[in-house]
Symmetry: C2
Subunit: 319 residues, 2 copies
């Protein structure tokens, strides 16, 4: 087993900002560094910027063993290549690991952001101690990650975990790939607002766009607003149906729910648990842990660092 | 790696008959022995009968290394205990591995029949060479098994692979556990007959129960009957919706479709592939192998033997 004192650098590459920090286990060492994504005009420029950043962190932590990067899009984890990144142009088929490795002389690993979040919660967060964990992130879209038999599961083309593309209705609304009933088209941020607008209108209430924002809806539900409760009840119905299917397929012990929309808390979790109790056998439901993600905005940094250390230990990474 | 010349005994424990044979790789050695399940009045009696059978097979093949048993129901693979078997009374919490091991002196492993079928196809059949394979069996009900990253994946309570319980419709027909939209309730043997009856009636045709049998429906569709085609098109629509969800979640390279209903062949596979092309991105669809199970009725024997050898090699089995 590993030395838990090992330190890796975690880079959480987001559409608007990149966050960088040294990580030891679950602990972020020092203050998180932020780089504005749009400050760099090209992938090469961004890599050069990463190189400067890594050099500075190594000066503070000479014992840094590896660099992990979580990116917002599709990657080839084995080759260390980004296929393309959502909302960040110029990264199609970019050999990020090779370029950055050559620059900094450390082993580099990259993975997509949903996997980093999932692994962070498994290794150091809400899913600690799980053997089989499913993480789902609720935000603009719906994403996910899988740890199976204690290891990150990525699928044959590093594309596993697309919970948002799973169908809740064989005859439903089309998703981005023609996939009828794509969960994301039912409980994405925008769709939650649309459910609220429909219900408020049907009730003859005056309302603004703000009244339909998931954050406001969570607050209102907590305060006892009936329509806001109905919105979350519907969201939980769709999400629970898909998670039920995931559970029948994978028989996990832990489900982690995170992302901005999950900040709604109990007003979402209570009806979600109710739905899962309804669609699962009693035995199954009793054995399952359904937990809120713990690491929040730090999950990307902690997870990318943890995956890099894990790969290093498994002998999959070289400088 | 293993000696491919190793021989294990495979036992396919079914609701009506038990089939036993020595297996070397994909080859069944000699003639399959059949035991009528109802000939034994209790689990103990059945185990005694197994003991007699194993002794006889060892006389012919003294090099037998292990015994694998596939059972029709829920098991604890680690403990070697059957929870309960479908259509076979008297097996609740029965320590099958311990009892049989004590009797025959060989390492014994047990698993459920769907996993045995899946592993057989992965190790020696239609999914050979796969890294991530999903097997689905279509019959009275709908079952499944998963090989992930080259290993049998069983989940936290050995209950993974329940494709028939996954939802095709969040608001649909209830399955056995209150699970709305359970696939099995749409494309089980009986449900296929009901679809046929509905369509024949709507068309004003005279028909008998036999006309609604999946075997006859397959034959008629092959002969060009339009209504029979429509039945398979509908079955493929439900199945494809669920398999699409499985593919988004697991990103497998191979899907194996087997079981009695899958004997329909191209009249099912053609619309199934069409549906999957519709719901998957082009890239995803092109990379995927969708294949017919190859080992048919021998899959249970070959798979149970193969899983036993695999466990023995991994050091998980003792006599």
């Amino acid at each position: 087993m590993s030395d838990t004192q090992d330190i890796a650098l975690g880079i959480d590459f987001g559409g608007t900002s990149v966050k960088v920090a040294a990580v030891r286990g679950a602990d972020i060492l020092g203050e998180v560094e932020r780089i504005v994504t749009s400050d760099c005009q090209s992938a090469d420029e961004m890599v050069a910027r990463f190189g400067v950043s890594i050099a500075a962190w190594r000066e503070r932590f000479p014992e840094l063993k590896a660099v992990g990067i979580g990116v917002p899009g599709a990657v080839d984890v084995d080759k260390g290549v980004t296929y393309n990144l959502t909302n960040v142009p110029g990264w199609r088929n970019y050999p990020l690991r090779e370029r950055l490795g050559a620059l900094c002389g450390l082993p580099v690993m990259l993975d997509n952001d949903a996997n980093c979040m999932c692994f962070a919660e498994f290794a150091h967060g809400a899913a600690k101690g799980a053997r089989n964990a499913v993480a789902v992130t609720l935000g603009t879209g719906v994403g996910g990650g899988l740890v199976l038999d204690g290891k990150m599961y990525r699928g044959s083309d590093f594309a596993a975990g697309e919970i948002g593309q799973m169908s809740v209705d064989y005859d439903g609304v089309e998703g981005p790939y023609g996939n009828t009933g794509a969960l994301e088209r039912y409980i994405g941020h925008r769709q939650i607002s649309a459910i609220a607008a429909d219900l408020l209108e049907a009730a003859g209430r005056d309302f603004t766009a703000e009244d339909c924002d998931p954050r406001i809806l969570a607050q209102r539900a907590t305060e006892g607003d009936e329509i806001a409760h109905q919105v979350w009840y519907r969201v939980a119905g769709y999400l629970g149906s898909t998670l039920g299917a995931v559970i029948y397929l994978l028989n996990p012990d832990t489900i982690v729910v995170g992302g901005g929309v999950a900040a709604a808390g109990e007003v979402l979790f209570d009806p979600l648990k109710e739905k899962l109790r309804d669609v699962l056998s009693a035995e199954f439901f009793e054995r399952l842990r359904i937990v809120h993600a713990q690491l929040g905005n730090d999950a990307g940094i902690i997870g990318s660092a943890a995956l890099a250390m894990e790969s290093l230990r498994a002998g999959e990474l070289r400088a």
